[in-house]
């Protein structure tokens, strides 16, 4: 009797770990440098962050163990409270922006007639990826100025009343940063969804057409269910990315006006680099990691529940 594909034979499963290592030594040998580097540069810093989160550490001298003091300080700090709220808004809206515009654009381009036309539009939306993100941020910072492009455009189309100090008003600063980057089409997400649409067999579309599923009905009944793996991945990466993100508030607003655009990751960065409180900053990092794990778990759970 031969073993079924995908199942290990009984003797193999009983082989000792040592024997298996010995058997696959060339592969392990090739993996070893990578594993060592990953261990040293990824896992060791994470271990350091977790252990030093319980200490008072200035980045140079011997850390002093302070127990849960840093965590207590972080969860009772009113600034951290506002930063967490800002992060929640950012994660929620960021999730929408990560999914909806790229989905819309990939649908529109995928159903364009003519391969050349599809290629041209695809290139047009992917091309901005070559612009360094910092340049993009600075350009948008200039757009948002009181005498910037946005206000000039509003004035030009007769919407003078909508002109605004976008980044210096606490009511609009956070939204301005979240919506920075019009037309919000993340090239990576767009390509992922476009590739997902390309993977749907033509027969499925043909069958759907025969059954009368066209337009929005086809998107809802065929495209979205079949794009679930891509959408799940995008959602996951968007959550992780937005919880950890702090570059635009750092560059454009320093977390202000007041603390209107402060997010926990920025607070962590400033606590370490500006205030020199590495132990406290690491406690914030650990709290952020817990949030990322919890949100990731939740999104996986919701994704599984819909299947």
């Amino acid at each position: 009797m031969t073993a079924l594909p995908g199942f290990r034979s009984a003797p193999a499963s009983r082989r000792s770990l040592l024997a298996r290592l010995r058997g696959g030594w060339p592969a392990y040998l090739f993996l070893l440098p990578t594993l060592l580097l990953v261990g040293y540069f990824s896992y060791f810093p994470a271990y350091t962050a977790i252990t030093r989160a319980f200490t008072d550490w200035d980045g140079l001298n011997v850390p002093t163990f302070t127990g849960l003091e840093n965590f207590q300080r972080a969860v009772t700090d009113p600034v951290m409270g506002q930063a967490t709220l800002n992060m929640a808004i950012w994660v929620g809206l960021g999730l929408l922006l990560a999914v909806v515009p790229p989905l819309l654009i990939s649908e529109l381009i995928f159903h364009l007639r003519g391969k050349k036309r599809q290629y041209a539009y695809r290139t047009l939306f992917v091309l901005p990826i070559v612009i360094p993100s910092l340049v993009l941020l600075l350009v948008w910072g200039a757009f948002y100025r009181s005498d910037g492009l946005l206000n000039a455009l509003l004035g030009a189309v007769g919407l003078e009343g909508l002109r605004h100090d976008w980044l210096s008003d606490p009511d609009t600063a956070l939204l301005s940063l979240i919506f920075l980057g019009f037309p919000y089409v993340d090239a990576f997400n767009f390509l992922l969804l476009y590739a997902g649409l390309q993977n749907i067999p033509d027969e499925v579309f043909d069958a759907a057409r025969i059954d009368g599923a066209t337009g929005w009905r086809r998107v809802l009944r065929i495209d979205l269910p079949l794009l679930r793996p891509q959408l799940g991945l995008i959602a996951l990466l968007a959550i992780i990315g937005n919880v950890q993100y702090f570059i635009s508030p750092l560059v454009l607003t320093s977390g202000g006006p007041g603390f209107a655009t402060t997010v926990p990751a920025l607070l962590m960065y400033q606590t370490a680099t500006r205030d020199g409180e590495y132990g406290y900053a690491m406690a914030m990092a650990v709290l952020l990691m817990i949030v990322v794990v919890a949100l990731t778990g939740l999104s996986r759970l919701l994704g599984r529940g819909n299947r």
Partner: protein, 480 residues
Amino acid sequence: MNRRTALTALLLGSSALLSAAHAAPGTWRGTITMVAADYTPNFPGVKNQLKVFQQIANEYEKKYPGIKIKFHTEPIPDTNTMIRVKAAAGELFDVYWAQAYSLNSTLPKGVAADLAPAFRQPNPYIPGNKAWQDVMDKAQLAEGRNPSGAVYTLSGDRVVYTIFYNKDLFKKAGISKAPTSWAELIAASKKLQAAGVYPMHAVPAYPWWSRHFLSDLYSKDYAKLTGYDGLPGQSPLDEAVAIHKGILTPKDPRFMSWWPTMKQFTDTWPRDYLTADPGKNYDAFQDFVGQKEAMLYEGSYKTREMLDAGVKFPVGAFNFPRLTKKESPYATGVNTANAYTGTGGFQYAMSTPLANKSMREKGKTQAVLDWMRYFGTPKNLQRLTAEQGTYVPTWPGTTAKLALSNFDAAAIQAQIKQPERSIGVANASANLGWGDMQRVFGLYLSGNITLDQAKQQAQTVLDRAAADYARKNKVDLSKY
């Protein structure tokens, strides 16, 4: 030996070496590295090259063959990050520029040696000197002192802050003379605004502006507010105690009585920068040089940058206008033009063996200290500041020689002659909370919160700052 014991031994060792150090550099021979900051000789790309520090180094090298002085001539965009990173690797420069308040608060302890024992000993390069500190500015020495008594920097100069203005733009707006009162300053700003010129275009930095106002409003309490530590000048400890007592806080009616006046002024500025971080003030200078704004509130070091930028239009300077009862019922009317004179370019720290492995070499600490003693004399300070031309030397007997020949410098020269009596809050050390105060200040100036809301927020910021200061420095504020 564990790390803690090793660190203690190193720090004690370095202190012992300092206190035992004598004039002669001993037997150590090698290269001393130094970050001279704004006094760097032969800095690449600078039109008006400085030479004096190199000359001083040459004289020292001639005196002690075998010792070389090497200046770091690359730009350092973020000093504190450089110090942290290089210290963590044990490769910090032997002598380096750093702000005293950063060394006292946010930078790790152990990156700079305590120079206080050396300051109490004679400097053999100053004839007849009994203690090096005798030639120094006593208030500046006290202001840089750590609550533990340590002094991490050899400080000898200050930045003078003043209001520069573009005479052409003033003329264009129909303003014939520089303002001398707040009423005139606000009226001039409105005229400039009406003429389509930005009066100012900057982040109104709380640590700078507040010093002028508070030094006036609290002038009658100057002795009390600077005396909690028993030393001249307002130290971070003096500041923390005054916050703790509710004097330098919104609980005192004087504290924020000037905010509405400042708001009247900033209401004529473009709003983009009102809520921003003063670290993002870079457009202000560019806009002044580009003639987009008429005034620039800046340090005397900008005069040199203006020369380097090839400014052709006539530049004048006028001092911070005196306050009257119109601006605040608590105004005392004293001249506070010289109240903000921040620490300057001659502000040098010495590495410890912890931050700089080469300092563990036998005799190197004494040699480096000897080099600091050599250049740290009033005579050499005078030579350096006179050549650089943008900082004011603070040691008794030294005189300011600012390189302002192309500018109408009468106001700055007059300002320097004023006594330096300065009261500030939230800015003497980083953990006294100026960053958060700046946020409240910006929100108020931009009209996003009322004065009462600002008072409430400022009180919270200052209470937390004083508590942080006390916790970090293990100080019992209630003792005072």
